[in-house]
Symmetry: C2
Amino acid sequence: MNDASRIWTAALLVIGDEILSGRTHDKNIAQVATWLNVQGIRLKEVRVVADDMAAIVEAVNALRARNDYLFTTGGIGPTHDDITVDAVAAALGVEVVIHPDARAMLEAYYAPRGGVNEARLRMARVPAGASLIENALSGAPGIAVANIHLLAGVPHIAAEMLAALTGKLEGGLPVLSATIGCWVTESEVADLLRETEQTHAGCQIGSYPFFREGRVGANFVIRSIDQRVIDACAADLVAGLGALGRTGVPGGI
Amino acid sequence: MNDASRIWTAALLVIGDEILSGRTHDKNIAQVATWLNVQGIRLKEVRVVADDMAAIVEAVNALRARNDYLFTTGGIGPTHDDITVDAVAAALGVEVVIHPDARAMLEAYYAPRGGVNEARLRMARVPAGASLIENALSGAPGIAVANIHLLAGVPHIAAEMLAALTGKLEGGLPVLSATIGCWVTESEVADLLRETEQTHAGCQIGSYPFFREGRVGANFVIRSIDQRVIDACAADLVAGLGALGRTGVPGGI
């Protein structure tokens, strides 16, 4: 296996009672997935756990061991339910320490906002050996330790942290995709999809049905790291749909 | 522990490349979580895996063993990437069979739509011993087997299947909640939140910061199975915020 074919993988651990209660609709899965793909890293699995020490430690250890990277979102704020730093430190078997740069960032940020107190200083706590991920928005940084990146749970703050990491993680070739839409029921084209995928080694075709304006349709998403494979597969799929009397719409419906 | 204090738990396994690629924003986590809570069942953990047999089997076996219920969404359609039935059967060590009632439902549904073909008949395949979950929308039923419920990935079809299951699963007391909003930074009230939670046994307080109209605020969500505990905790929290010169807004901001 040469470098170009090395597949880099990541897992995401979403931490927070609010997702499991249904109160908050998660936005970080799609955000992290999309960002990872641009970095040439594939999101292999996601877990969502509660603000529970044992559950976080178990998931961190399972996920970090079998992926190149683990990202977490949530639980790095100043309140009693923010226990991600402690859980990651426990999973790694290291102490929690105050990071001097994080303390300085928080002191600068809060100087005109009432100063640093004990709760705010919690956001300078990191697993020993960690470095910081810049967060221009709120002064409280993300944290990188071992192969783990701890991001905020608030999606637009997580986005800032991802922006700070852009281009800095080693990855492989990004997965490219093309979409063909069609006003057709999936079950009419199931054989065509399977056969077209088999004909083009190195691509996958996903089929995503929808119901709109009282009509049934589907989008077929072709994915590969090779644009030529995608183009050939898409051309065959459109031709195959045409042979069935259907029109494939490049770009999707 | 008596019956009233028995806590019923569930896990959710979301199956689909489209979630992990970032193409599709998951809506089933929040939908299933909200529905489960009304049934008196707590969603303890969620995993998202690809359309990959080994990954699904591993997750099914891990999650079904340690929860009262496991729900899956996705991968029960007619196309080649729909492998949930095969994976659940493999996890349970049973055969895949054609369910006669599912076949009859599909034949009735597709009679005016071109009839049943091989792909459509795939949606009558179930793990041996399964029963069906009604789906009035598209003719293809959900599947119940052992403690596992297989739902569609399309959110409004999954909703139909959840509606068919409403009130039919054994559960405990639903978790109740109340929200208090406040224009305050979390770090100013971290001590108050921790102390208020500790004072009221049987409740948890979650803190969810937000940024709106250029201002910082947070919603504090109090959860318990006992409305009296919630009411007492909410009253103390509002009083505590008042003592800090802040106004707690019942219902949240």
